[in-house]
Every structure is written in structure tokens, then in C-alpha cells.
């Protein structure tokens, strides 16, 4: 049989395909969807109290998106290391980086779509707020979730067993507090840039915020790719 070594792109797509199928069949996906629905509940409560605090709903969504990224990305990648099923991939003739890019290609759109749908339903249906910049918020949440996925992937390669807890701890105890501290360190906070894009605060331009998100994601993705090359 004439086989060939797959290029990085083809390997990424093949891994994304199987990762997507597996993720769709796990309970983790439903757990993540449940977490993403919490802002909808919050928005419903605001509506019942006749309060139209769309910013609070968006902030709540940022928190739930952090948990969602940890569960879907850190959870599913870390589990594969823990269960040793990653050896099926390592033993195939694939560039190692394609394992991470393939998994992210499958999981990031899933996480971003769930998070964006959560905020869209919360603002538009539950809150009924037609003044909230829905499109902008949804894009910000999707972008933030994507960036958080890079952090989750890095933790999954560094400490597979505790990757979900460490991702959540990092985001809640480092990233989110930094976003509200008025200092230059805000630049390394995903939540800070996400808030700029969503329009909940106005401290910098949207372009700067997008560049900030991309830079932070690139650093964490770099950590994940470096680690996956060395892991045995």
C-alpha cells in the first residue's frame, strides 16, 4: 500500500475532524453549553426586575466563557494526555504541532459559537435590550473565547491533569483582576482587550484591543506548541 506522510495542513484538518466528532459525543460539550446559558438566566432575572444592565450581562458572559474554554479546550486536550490516547497521534507520521492546531481548529469554533450564542440570546431575547451593541459584543466574546482557548491549550500541555482548574484559576485570579487595575499591566489581560472590543469600557481603540488579543494568544499558543514538541 502506497502511503504518504501528511503535510501539516492536511494533518491539522484530519485531527480537527476526529476531534470535532469526539467532542460532539462527549458530555463536556453539554456541560459547556449549560455554563454558557447562565448569562441568559441572569438576563431573565434583570428583565423580571425591570433592570436593563446589558454591561453586567456581558461581564457575566466573560466569566462563563472562561469556564467554557477551560472545560472544552483544556479539558478535552488534557484528558487525551491523561488517558494516554495521545500516543495514537504521536505514533503516526505527523508533525507534532498539528495535534494542537488540529484540536484548536475543532474546539475553538465550537467554544466561540457557544459563547457568542449565549450572549446574543441573553441580550436580545432574555433582556430584550435593543440598545446593546449586539454584533460587537458577540464578536468580542467570540474573540475573547478564542484567545482563552490558546491559554487553555497551553495549560493542557503543561499540566494535563489539572489543566481545567489551572486555566480557570489563571483567568479568574490573574487575567480578570488585571483588567480592572488601572495600570500598564492591563495590556496583558485578555478580559481588558475583550471589554474594549465589546464596548463596555473605552480606554483604547478597538484596533489596539484586537492586536493585544492576538499578541497574548500568540504567546500562549507558542507555549503550547513548544511544549508539545518536547513532551514524551
Amino acid at each position: 500500500m502506497a502511503t504518504r506522510v501528511l503535510g501539516g495542513g492536511a494533518a491539522t484538518i484530519a485531527i480537527a475532524r476526529v476531534s470535532f466528532t469526539r467532542a460532539m459525543r462527549t458530555r463536556t460539550l453539554y456541560g459547556a453549553a449549560g455554563v454558557a446559558a447562565l448569562p441568559i438566566v441572569m438576563a431573565s432575572i434583570f428583565t423580571a426586575l425591570k433592570q436593563h444592565e446589558w454591561r453586567s450581562v456581558v461581564e457575566m458572559n466573560v466569566f462563563t466563557s472562561a469556564v467554557l474554554s477551560a472545560l472544552l479546550v483544556a479539558g478535552l486536550i488534557g484528558e487525551e494526555f491523561e488517558d494516554k490516547t495521545m500516543t495514537y497521534l504521536w505514533s503516526r507520521p505527523l508533525p507534532r504541532w498539528s495535534v494542537i492546531t488540529g484540536k484548536l481548529l475543532a474546539l475553538v469554533p465550537m467554544a466561540a459559537a457557544i459563547a457568542a450564542a449565549g450572549v446574543a440570546i441573553a441580550l436580545n431575547v432574555a433582556l430584550g435590550d435593543d440598545k446593546a451593541p449586539l454584533g460587537r459584543v458577540a464578536i468580542a466574546i467570540a474573540a475573547g473565547t478564542t484567545a482563552r482557548a490558546a491559554i487553555a491549550a497551553a495549560w493542557a500541555t503543561l499540566v494535563p491533569k489539572q489543566s481545567v482548574a489551572l486555566t480557570i484559576a489563571y483567568l479568574f485570579f490573574f487575567d480578570f483582576p488585571l483588567a480592572v487595575i488601572p495600570a500598564r499591566l492591563q495590556a496583558v489581560s485578555l478580559a481588558f482587550h475583550e471589554a474594549q472590543i465589546a464596548g463596555t469600557v473605552h480606554d483604547e481603540s478597538v484596533t489596539s484591543a484586537i492586536i493585544g488579543l492576538c499578541a497574548i494568544s500568540a504567546v500562549w499558543l507558542g507555549v503550547a506548541l513548544w511544549r508539545v514538541r518536547r513532551i514524551e
Binding site: M1, A2, T3, R4, V5, L6, A11, A14, I15, R17, V18, T21, R22, R25, T26, D83, K84, T85, T87, Y88, L89, W90, S91, R92, P93, L94, P95, E232
Partner: protein, 308 residues
């Protein structure tokens, strides 16, 4: 591979931090089936993972088809590996799993190749079932299908018969033999001597990360047979049975344990006959008759001079 050598290890060592995996292993292997024999924790899996390109040697070199498997994707394309652990992608069906691994190995028609590999291991009837519900034997067969789906030249099977029932074991042995007959080079690891004996005569005995012996399994057997062979009989009247056997010229020593008698002999075949005759003559109720020497411990005890 101009000299026909598939695997060549030169002073190869692997540490996991301060823990030794294998130490200073030099070995070469040309083809057919070789059995990697050793107790749990001996370093068999480490050696197999190094051959599969999953681990890098800490010191020395290990080449497969003349290249470093860890660094060469082209070499890994020619290797099929079935890991020791049971975990697989349980959410997938056997066909989906094997098809995916065929696709990742660059097989042109992965679905067709997967169906053929699954048929080879006799799993066609269950190929659409999710792996989650599989028995150990079915999992082992699915792993074997995954290892051979891309038609590799070199197949590495790490403890493929662990947890498999006797019928499935026979079936697996037959399948592995067929692969070898088809020209594949195969390395099979086990900690059970008779599993390896059923597959091949060529063995590599690994213990505490080192190669203790290499060559024909019968040579190893002869070494064992130079030493008294033990037969343990669990029965209702061990002392009576022992007294009857004590005078036999084939019995070197009789030792009594709780509810059992252990006979040491240099001629196991005749001794088995005499035990059977004594049991029948005296109507002794035998619960079990086993040979403690049939496990690998006896080999290691002998090869290490009983120092372990």
C-alpha cells in the same frame, strides 16, 4: 536497511528524571518475530516506545530502518504500534477509529483500508459499535487493526495479550503469525513466557532496564531445565501424596505448604506421570496442579543468579 537490520540500538539508555527506563542496551534485529520478555517494569514498554518514535534515547542511539524514529516521519510511516494501555477514543466506533488512524497515516483510501484491517482481525461484525462497549479482547483486536491499517513493514505490539481470554488469545497469536508470514517484522512484548513461546523462538529478555539474554527461547528453556523444576499440587491430603512420591528417583525434594505439596524434579515429564498415578491410586482430591516455574520469575531468578 542495506544490511537487513530493522532495529539497531547502540548503548541506548532512557531515564525518566531519576528513574531508569532502560540502560545501555545494544541490540540489533533483522526480521521475523521477536518476543520481548520481562516482568512488569522491566523496560519493555520503554524500548518499544523508543522503537515507535514516541521517546528519545537519553543516551546512545536507536535506529529503525537506518533512521531515528523520533525524528523521521518517513520512518514512522513504516511503523505500526499498538500501545499497552487499554484506553482508546471510546466515543468512536471501531471503524471510525481505524479509519481515522489510517487517514493520519496517509493511506489513500482510509475507509477501505480500515475495513480490510478490521476484517483481518475478525471484527467486521462489530465494526460499527462504539469502542466504549468493547471487551478487552475486542479492544486488543481493534488496537491490532489500528497498528496494521497502513500496511507497515514493522509492527510493535506492547502486551497484546494482556487481559484476553484463552480463545481470543489463540486467535491473536494466529493473526500475529499471519502478519509475520506476510513479511512483516514484528516485536511483541509480554511478561508471560508461554505467550511468547507460542509466537516465536527468538526472544530478548529484559530485566531492570537491561538485556539479560538474547536468542532462542529453547536455549533459555534449557537453562531453566538445568535447575529443579517445581510442581505444586493443591489437594486434600498433601502429606500422604508427598510421602508416596518421596521415594521416586525423579523427585529431588518434597516441600509441604498449607494445603499443598511442592515437588522439585529434574525430569518434569516423568514426574507429572508419577503424580497422576499416585493421585489415582490413593484417591487424593486434587484442587489444582501448577508449575510455578512456568512463569518468567524462574527465568529471571536463574539469569540473575537469584539476586533479584
Amino acid at each position: 536497511m542495506s544490511d537487513g537490520v530493522v532495529v539497531r540500538a547502540e548503548k541506548c539508555s532512557k531515564w525518566y528524571g531519576h528513574v531508569l527506563g532502560i540502560s545501555d542496551v545494544s541490540w540489533k534485529f533483522g526480521g521475523g518475530i521477536v518476543g520481548l520478555l520481562g516482568p512488569n517494569g522491566a523496560g519493555k514498554s520503554t524500548l518499544i516506545k523508543m522503537m515507535a518514535g514516541l521517546l528519545r534515547p537519553s543516551r546512545g542511539t536507536l535506529e529503525v530502518f537506518g533512521a531515528l524514529p523520533y525524528a523521521s516521519l518517513e520512518t514512522r510511516r513504516r511503523i505500526g504500534y499498538a500501545p499497552e494501555h487499554e484506553a482508546t477514543w471510546d466515543e468512536l466506533s471501531a471503524l471510525e477509529l481505524v479509519t481515522t488512524l489510517a487517514r493520519l497515516s496517509g493511506v489513500p483510501d482510509p475507509r477501505k483500508a480500515a475495513e480490510a484491517a478490521i476484517a483481518t482481525v475478525g471484527m467486521t461484525k462489530d465494526q460499527h459499535r462504539r469502542v466504549k462497549g468493547f471487551s478487552k479482547g475486542m479492544r486488543q483486536r481493534t488496537k491490532l487493526a489500528s497498528a496494521i491499517v497502513h500496511d507497515p513493514d514493522f509492527v510493535l505490539l506492547d502486551e497484546p495479550m494482556t487481559g484476553v481470554d484463552p480463545m481470543a488469545r489463540l486467535d491473536l497469536i494466529e493473526q500475529i503469525r499471519r502478519l509475520a508470514a506476510a513479511g512483516k517484522t514484528i516485536v511483541v512484548s509480554s511478561h508471560v513466557l508461554y505467550e511468547i513461546e507460542a509466537l516465536t523462538t527468538e526472544i530478548l529478555v529484559v530485566y531492570r532496564g537491561q538485556v539479560l539474554a538474547e536468542g532462542n527461547v529453547y536455549e533459555i528453556r534449557k537453562l531453566i531445565d538445568k535447575h529443579p523444576h517445581r510442581i505444586r499440587v493443591d489437594c486434600d491430603r498433601p502429606r500422604e501424596l508427598g510421602a508416596a512420591l518421596a521415594s521416586s528417583e525423579h523427585v529431588a525434594r518434597v516441600v509441604f505448604e498449607r494445603g499443598a505439596m511442592v515437588v522439585e524434579t529434574r525430569d518434569p515429564d516423568r514426574c507429572y506421570d508419577e503424580i497422576a498415578a499416585c493421585v489415582l491410586d490413593r484417591g487424593v482430591a486434587v484442587r489444582s496442579m501448577t508449575s510455578p516455574d512456568n512463569n518468567l520469575g524462574a527465568v529471571f531468578d536463574y539469569l540473575t543468579g537469584g539476586s533479584r
